[in-house]
Amino acid sequence: MRQISGNKLLVKALREEGVDTLFGYPGACTIDISDELYRQNEIRVILPRHEQALVHEADAYARTTGKVGVCLVTSGPGATNLVTGLATANYDSVPLVCFTGQVARHLIGNDAFQEVDIVGITRSITKYGVTVRNRADLGRVIKEAFYIARTGRPGPVLIDLPKDVMGELGSAEYPKDVNIRGYKPNTSVHIGQLKRALKMLHKAKHPLFLAGGGVNIAGANEVFTEVVEKTNVPVVTTVMGRGAIPTNHPLFIGNLGMHGAYAANMAVSECDLLFSIGTRFNDRITGKLHAFAPKAKIVHIDIDTASISRNISVDVPIVADAKEAIVKMREYVEPCNTKKWLGMVQVWMKEHPMDMKHRGEMGPKDIIDEINRQFEEAIVVTDVGQHQMFAAQFTEITEKKRIIMSGGLGTMGYGFPGAIGAKLGNPDIPVIAISGDGGMQMNIQEFATAVLEELPVILCVFNNTYLGMVRQWQKLFYGKRYGMTDLRSGALSRRTEGAEKPVYTPDFVKLAESYGAKGIRVEKREDIKGAFEEAKKNTNVPTLIEFLIDPEEMVYPMIQPGGTLEEMILDC
């Protein structure tokens, strides 16, 4: 029987799994794999400039293509640089398979050069992780990794590859089937439970759908919209669930939660049946737990049993894939009499519509409105902070427009690499990153990747010279003591006790240009339109548009940390 090295089998396995793009950064322990990849043309190898950006790129690639994202990094620091990205993917249920190099087996445990116990380090932030200790297991382990990553509730899988195992000759066979006795994800829906839930829905006077990220991950948006239309029941979404139904749909109320729409939070507080799908009732959406949806019976459909009745107790739990459940719902749902209830919702929407007051020359909403106007089709990728919440509140999502972000972990530095990953997976769709000046600097080295890959992503940097979201809390709850959030503070401001500050650094426009990208600075509302038109003309280089934003811009409504959904701070 023909024998091949582990390195060769790995590349063969990737081909058989249909991997077309791999995000890799080399090192001593993976140099043989780099060599195998060099000698083939089927898999495109992307070389980012930092492993953290690398894993975010693979993550966004996976989120926007539905494929499994694949990473290859070396042992030690290469592997530890994955940690934040793995946790990001784990919280947001993103399928990744990450290969890490490892020192040879006889060196493991010796504190060898670039040795870390990466499987141990990442145990609580991966769906599964394993060190391949025998060459004979390699094919099976890779096969299982892809299967585990993409099935059930998707998530990141880490495979640690000792260098000597990979060099060893062994079977050239890559298994066709998977059979893991401890892992049999169930996706199908229990019809009896579902019918019970629907009976409650039909009987309710104030029914409300709550859609989480699970609806988007399952690709159930269209059928969900059908169900919503058939029942005439209004919808609120989590930040990750935004787009479960088009945001311009008359039955869509808005996002709920800490920065949710007034009407959405009121609807949750007043509904008598909360029919929730694919959400884990994160503290950012529930506010104070005992006051969450106080009048409602709660139905909860989720693929992960552990998500059900963890944060809030549920009256009807249903374990199922969101799409399978919603497709079944379509069969059984009947129109609900919600006219009066929709009237109440309308009143709340009119009372405090989702809007921002104009302040100064140009506000965040002006920019997002322009994006909504100019792009028929788009993938918007955000970073984390105020701009992310503005984007979550105002970005229009339709069948052809989507938004992705690090929702669960809240990872600053996700936006730019996320845009790169999304663009690599969707070369024909405009990709727009929205980032703050803080998050933009967390993976700014990726300009090199974006320029060399000729990716015309548009990077909108909302520069307010502060770490705005923390500043917002400081302004509201910490007596305007802006500790650690002023990005112009340093020796000069210390010396002069805050009287003097230097000009902002870096100069984003020059920085973009130094990488060979385009840079535009916008200070006034009337220049926004032209900036995007200009950016669209750059068809093979990234364009950074720096928008100078007033630091006093705040994200409203806001629920005080630990407060209830009804006690919202509104714009005033």
Binding site: R123, S124, G182, D304, I308
Partner: protein, 169 residues
């Protein structure tokens, strides 16, 4: 809300692989679950290990623990032993040192009362072996600690298996 905190038992079938024990115990520490005792050993199938876990928790937390264990790839089966008929025992060794002649006599009596065995004997020391429920072992340790100054204790943690007839513990 009703206070449902009590001691609970789980029997767990897991893959007999490197790192599984660490993953299970890491779940308890990472999610702040109480872990009272954990024992592990291989079964008749060398690829499968079986664990007996004791935890003190309320109803909701215990449900979460079972769900979280169930979703681990390496966990093959989770069985709740809390309210079923099981046989469950723990081994306890107590070495009593610096004994007088009277001490030894008393220790033999204690051993007889608790159906323990005296398994080793020195000039001024005794080694006792108890195989009984963890609760009874708690009582023995307390008793011996009160009666004798110099004792050394090692406990194995409970192991449990379902009864064939309807017998408890």
């Amino acid at each position: 809300m009703e206070n449902t905190i009590k001691k609970r038992w789980i029997s767990l079938y897991v893959e007999n692989q490197v790192g599984v024990l660490s993953k299970i115990s890491g779940l308890f520490s990472g999610k702040s679950y109480n872990l009272d005792s954990l024992t592990v050993g291989t079964t008749e199938d060398p690829t499968v290990s079986r664990m007996t876990i004791a935890t003190v928790s309320d109803d909701e937390t215990f449900e979460q623990i079972k769900k979280q264990l169930n979703r681990m790839v390496e966990v093959i089966k989770v069985i709740d032993f809390t309210d079923v008929f099981v046989r469950m025992k723990e081994i306890l060794y107590v070495k009593v040192k610096k004994c007088t002649r009277e001490d030894k006599a008393e220790l033999f009596q204690i051993a007889e009362t608790f159906k323990a065995r005296v398994i080793d004997y020195g000039k001024d020391s005794l080694l006792l072996e108890f195989v009984q429920t963890a609760t009874k072992n708690d009582a023995v340790v307390k008793l011996l600690k009160d009666e004798f100054k110099h004792i050394e204790v090692v406990r194995g943690g409970s192991v449990g298996i379902e009864s064939i007839s309807m017998m408890e513990r």
